[in-house]
Amino acid sequence: MTAMDNVLSDGFVRLLREISSPAAVRRAEDDGDAADILREVEDSGFMDALVPESKQGSGLALADVVPLFLAAGDHLLPIPFAETMVARALIAGADARAPRGNTIVFWPATPSGRLRSQLNPLGAQSSLALVQRGTAFELFPIQCGDRRADSFGMASARPDLDALPLLSFELPGVDLLQWAAAITAVTMAGAMERMLGMSLTHVNGRKQFGRTLGKFQAIQQQLSIFAERVVSAQVAARIGLTGSNFILDGGRVAIAKSIANESARSCVSIAHAVHGAIGISEAHDLQLYTRRLARLQVSFGSEAYWQRFAGELRLGSRETTSVDFVRALLDHPVAYQ
């Protein structure tokens, strides 16, 4: 992380602390209303960070905004922030202009328009959906009155595919499922780091058997594993978010999402274990994180889907050794844009 990343993300983190508190997250999840949050984030200008300067954006590279994505995950920002940032860049890349004051969810679809995910995207305050069918990209309005809470207790969104699209364009080589999975992975990595922090605070404050929980070796060993998983997920998320001309690499995304899912399983389990019964209560904020992580594990392909993807890629490659395969995949990152 460079000093510039810090300056950029520090400002964003300050904003998130103000606008994306657990109470605000609860409100947004309950009724899908995050209008205040959206206004603040839009005013901050961060959602245009990936749009080129020639098109009134900030012209940042993907690697520069990864800390912002992590921070959004860390604060459970209840609007599709990263998705909107990427969607605006994709739209700008097709020489079109995204409407302001709206967030955009991703809808990678089969030719018939069915979403390529078991769960609809999180839809608090979203009004538009970027839909990909084949190589065709279209921007659709979200179906009115469909922001109700889903089985995970969160407002989700689906586009009205019968409406007239606001925009239509082609982006050869761009795969929206890969983008959705990569963003899901980085969001999960951010949430996991916050859960680690919450767990450390909890075990340092709570006393049992005459000493703080954090002094018990069994707890220390569990939290060490937790930290290992958080680091793995973050490193994997960065691997996923690398590409050029808005084209991610399927193999890299496969690494990101499968490691995010594997890591989330351990992290959620350890976070709940060290929190005990209080962590199971609705009133405690831990459930906001574990619920979000549970939902994201099922979104845009589980580890089985992405591991199979990586396995097939490996079997189809000519590299003799697995290290040579990984090197070919990772050692030649191209600067984004």
């Binding site: 992380m1 680690l196 922090g197 340092n204 060993q221 290992e228 490193v235 990586a310 050692d331």
Partner: protein, 384 residues
Amino acid sequence: MIALTEAFAGAMIPAGAEHLRAQVKSFLETSLPDRPAHMRARTWSAYDAQFSRSLAERGWVGLTLPTRYGGAGLDAFSRFVLVEELLIAGAPVAAHWIGDRQSGPLILRYGTEAQRQFYLPRICRGEIFFCIGMSEPNAGSDLASVRTKAARTANGWLLNGSKIWTTYAHKSHYMLALVRTSGSVDDRQQGLSQFVIDLTLPGISINPIVDLCGDDHFSEVFFEDVRLDAAALVGEEGQGWTQANAELAFERSGPERIYSSLILLDLWTQRVRRDSSDSDKVRLGRLIARLAVLREMSLAITGRLARGESPLFEAALLKDLGTEFEQNIPQEIANALAADPDAESDDELLRTLAYLMQISPAFSLRGGTREILRGMIARGLGLR
């Protein structure tokens, strides 16, 4: 708490270091013909003095040592590339491994000019091999409970005690040992010093210990009134613990903490290429994804080592994850192979699998046990 995001910021192998790869690959293709997989799987546990010398002839032993001491004067990334290629080819590198990775750099950092001139060029030429004397009988993971004692004499030291589980002591020329020079076991880390011990000295006896696979890579070493020169002391008297710890990040963060089962993975991949089930593909992808992340982490630490840092917390974290991965591979492949009891068996694959299924528990013992490493990580998290 340590900022995890910054601790593992990505690092790229510089072009200069990458340049070495093709040379190493082509050398290994010709110098290791027809070595069966179950032998290659032994990699940095397999001893072949002649092979180590052939690497030395090419300047590939002591790669990071300065040229004035016979080294190649290259950086940590070059060593990463070299080690990576040696490991994925299953090259028998144990003979020079310890001297190259730890003893050489330690003598460079803490040794006198005379010690550097005496040992380093010979390490780089592959003439002398080192072992490290840390563990002692009945001490287990409690490395600080050192009982082996060096008492000052008129012109040097008198050494008594024993070391155990010392890798290839019976085939090494020197041991870099951590011994007590003052106080008693109760003084723990205080009063320890490091010595280079010439293993041909009178009073030293070494017995190899056969492992559960029939290999004899470690041994037990006894010191009975061994007379050491004053010049055997490395660094400062009483600073042994600090000195020994300073090199641990090197020992724990390299590809050898990730790659110990890759010969098996690559052999199994060949089989899966011919005929694969869906679950094989998932399994293979799972292992590839973990490998990719671990390698990125190892590279990130290499970048920090190259900048002169000593990221001990990060190295402990990587080693714990890396050895878990090395242990996963034989488990996953055992499960995959026997998923179809009617499938045709492959002797060489089974030999390699049998070796790794039996030896892999050692991966999270050698170089710091899993429990000790997790204790270090917990300290980094502010819990201890």
